[in-house]
């Protein structure tokens, strides 16, 4: 009849009280397990979505800070460029998997027909101004980061060589659709037209100068957007627009873009000398947009911290995963609510179970006094009560493990529906990362799971809570005086 056996008998011989305690633990356990289920699901969403958002990081001017400036500050504002040396320095950091810096310009063509989407083929919008339907996108990273990051996929030919990038060779990779439309193949050449217009007077543009940009096609790519296979997708308009834009992008070495820029400005200055000082230094024409891809999602913060001090004033590091907050509104608010519920449930559990156990102990005062009068160690009397409560707790927790998880499914479905209605415009962020994840994607990846993570977490939190709530009334035992009780 040692204290362990006494504890077990304490449960079975007082079934009524055991059942009351079990019911209380079960009810509170459901709250805790539900809250933990939702928390885990929201955490999972955060990590999977951030994973999908990728590890890209860019350097941006802090527009918020500029907007907050006074007029005087604003007048003196001078934003320096990020130069190539700095880009290379940052690219050399250990967090960086690979990086690129790019210079883009819009350009037209006389011989080439641009891709205008599948449906609009017939009703081609005729725009009789100077057409700049193509984007000349310079790259420095020869394998092309867009391909590495699955934005596009090389379907024919090859990527650039390092030599071609360094020498600024006249080679290009264009989209498969654009090639089909113009009957072009790898090995053929295409001709773009760098035209310099004057728009300054009368609104009528006037051609000042122009030259051909002749490029050899070395590869063909196809966009790899996740939305591609969705066909008639609901957010059609914007997607098509972005798709058409990408189909008309021509990848070339950076040097090709910068030499065309230089030509453009040189010709323009000949015409309008006001801009002459723009050409004082070669560098002034070189605005590169750097993009860095990190090895790990977890490195984001560390990378930011290391890079920030290197940047010129007013610049900041922006990560692709930063926009999680923008699209994950409903999930975030659920995560918050479930956090509060968890906190309240734990506190309520500690108080309620503490009170119930204390009441039961007072009822058993005489029994406890008897053990003490027989010379039982107080620690073992405490142990007996702990065994009784923890076994019932274990059963209650195990039952609510499933029911709470099940309840969480129902509750979060209702909550997400309600939340989703508030975020009706289906937040989607179009920014320089060109990532097409929407609130719908976020909600889709939300899933209440019954996995080992959750089970371990719940047992730890649940049993610890019960333990804490039992420890408080146990001080009652420590202060019992057997003489007063029994004599």
């Amino acid at each position: 009849m040692n204290f362990i056996k006494r504890g077990l008998l304490g449960i079975t011989r007082k079934k009524g009280k055991s059942l009351i305690l079990l019911a209380v633990i079960f009810i509170l356990g459901n709250l805790i397990s539900g809250a933990i289920s939702i928390q885990q699901a929201t955490n999972n969403v955060e990590s999977t979505i951030k994973e999908r958002l990728g590890t890209a990081a860019m350097l941006e001017v802090d527009y918020e800070e500029i907007e907050a400036m006074s007029e005087e500050e604003w007048m003196e504002l001078e934003i320096s460029n990020i130069d190539i040396d700095l880009i290379k320095q940052i690219g050399g950091l250990s967090y960086v998997k690979y990086y690129d810096y790019s210079m883009s310009t819009a350009i037209g063509s006389e011989s080439l027909e641009s891709y205008q989407g599948e449906e609009t083929e017939e009703e081609h919008i005729i725009w009789d101004g100077p057409s700049m339907e193509f984007t000349l996108k310079g790259i420095n990273y020869a394998p092309v980061v867009d391909f590495e990051e699955q934005k596009g996929k090389l379907v024919d030919g090859r990527v650039f060589t390092t030599d071609e990038v360094e020498n600024g060779s006249a080679v290009a990779i264009i989209s498969n659709k654009l090639a089909e439309k113009n009957n072009l193949n790898v090995g053929d050449t295409l001709t773009l037209n760098n035209a310099v217009y004057d728009y300054s007077e009368s609104g009528e543009e006037e051609l000042i100068a122009s030259r051909d940009v002749i490029l050899e096609i070395i590869g063909l790519f196809e966009p790899q957007s996740a939305k591609e296979d969705k066909g008639e997708s609901s957010d059609g308009g914007m997607m098509d627009f972005m798709d058409i834009d990408y189909q008309n992008t021509v990848y070339v070495p950076n040097e090709v873009v910068s030499s065309e820029e230089r030509y453009y400005w040189e010709e323009y200055v000949k015409f309008d000398n006001d801009y002459a000082d723009m050409l004082v230094e070669d560098d002034d024409l070189e605005y590169y947009t750097p993009i860095f891809f990190l090895n790990n999602q977890e490195d984001t913060e560390a990378f930011k911290e290391e890079v920030m001090p290197l940047l010129p004033e007013l610049y900041l590091v922006v990560n692709a995963s930063d926009q999680y907050e923008d699209i994950a509104g409903p999930i975030e608010s659920m995560s918050k609510i479930s956090g509060y519920v968890l906190l309240v449930a734990v506190i309520a559990t500690v108080l309620i179970i503490g009170l119930v156990v204390l009441l039961f102990l007072r009822d058993r005062k005489r029994e406890l006094g008897i053990y003490l009068s027989l010379g039982e160690r107080r620690s073992r009397v405490v142990g007996q009560i702990l065994i009784e409560v923890m076994i019932i707790g274990m059963i209650g927790i195990s039952l609510s493990l499933f029911t709470g998880n099940f309840l969480a499914q129902g509750v979060s479905e209702t909550m997400l529906e309600a939340e989703h209605d508030q975020f009706q415009e289906d937040m989607m962020v179009y920014n320089e990362f060109e990532i097409d994840l929407t609130t719908d994607d976020v909600l889709e990846s939300y899933e209440i799971q019954l996995n080992s993570n959750y089970i371990v977490m719940f047992y730890v939190v649940g049993l610890l809570t019960i333990l804490v709530s039992t420890v408080i009334p146990l001080t009652y035992i420590v202060r019992l005086n057997p003489k007063k009780i029994m004599m």
Binding site: F3, S373, G375, E376, R377
Partner: protein
């Protein structure tokens, strides 16, 4: 000499004054004898027994068990290994059967006990007058006399030589009372226990080998 009380002082603080319940009280007890401590209600009998059984500590003075200060032995340890206590109100655990109540101290004590504790407990109960069918009952299904027998068996279960009882027959009728007293006599005379019984009954005192009277905080040995 198995038990000795030396210059025990015990008082309650009554405002500024100390109200002494025991004043320089000394007494000694031997094995094989049945002692009674006689006194009126409120005379301090229970207080004295609480000191002897280490359920309370004196303000000054010592209790020696086999020449050793029980404070040195450790009150808890003394209670679980050296003394069996019987209360007026039985103090049995109602959710346990009679035999289970007897088994409780057997798992608490550090004394050497036979391997088969359950058999020992049944035998002990049988010897005290509780047959097996009653030994398996929950104790609140037993009469007062039977409950007190279970309490005596519990006190004996740890194989101690010292039995202390606080008005053990206070709640029993005369016939029961005599049966219980007979058990105490047998324990002292046939089993060489030292039995100390606190009572307010002269009839019981007359049957003991030695009576101490407690009056106004002073303990005197009769004869």
């Amino acid at each position: 000499m198995i038990l000795e009380a030396k210059d025990l002082n015990y008082f309650y603080q009554d405002g500024e004054n100390r109200r002494y319940i025991l004043k320089d009280t000394s007494a000694s007890f031997e094995k094989g004898k049945f002692y009674t401590i006689l006194g009126q209600s409120g005379s301090g009998k229970t207080s004295f027994l609480a000191l002897l059984s280490a359920l309370d500590s004196p303000h000054s003075g010592t209790v020696l068990f086999n020449e050793q200060d029980i404070k040195q032995i450790g009150y808890e340890k003394y209670r679980r290994n050296n003394v069996g206590i019987i209360f007026q109100s039985y103090n049995l655990i109602p959710t346990l059967t009679a035999v289970e109540n007897v088994l409780v101290p057997m798992s608490i004590t550090e004394n050497e006990l036979p391997e088969d504790k359950k058999t020992v407990a049944y035998n002990l109960l049988d010897y005290i007058g509780i047959v097996k069918s009653k030994a398996d009952r929950f104790v609140n299904k037993l009469s007062g006399g039977e409950q007190q027998r279970v309490a005596i068996a519990r006190a004996l279960a740890t194989n101690v030589e010292l039995i202390l009882a606080d008005e053990p027959t206070g709640n029993l009728d005369e016939e029961m009372e005599q049966e219980i007293i007979d058990i105490f006599k047998k324990l002292a005379h046939e089993h060489q226990k030292c039995v100390i019984v606190v009572t307010h009954s002269n009839e019981i005192a007359l049957q003991s080998d030695q009576t101490f009277s407690l009056k106004k905080g002073v303990l005197t040995a009769d004869e």
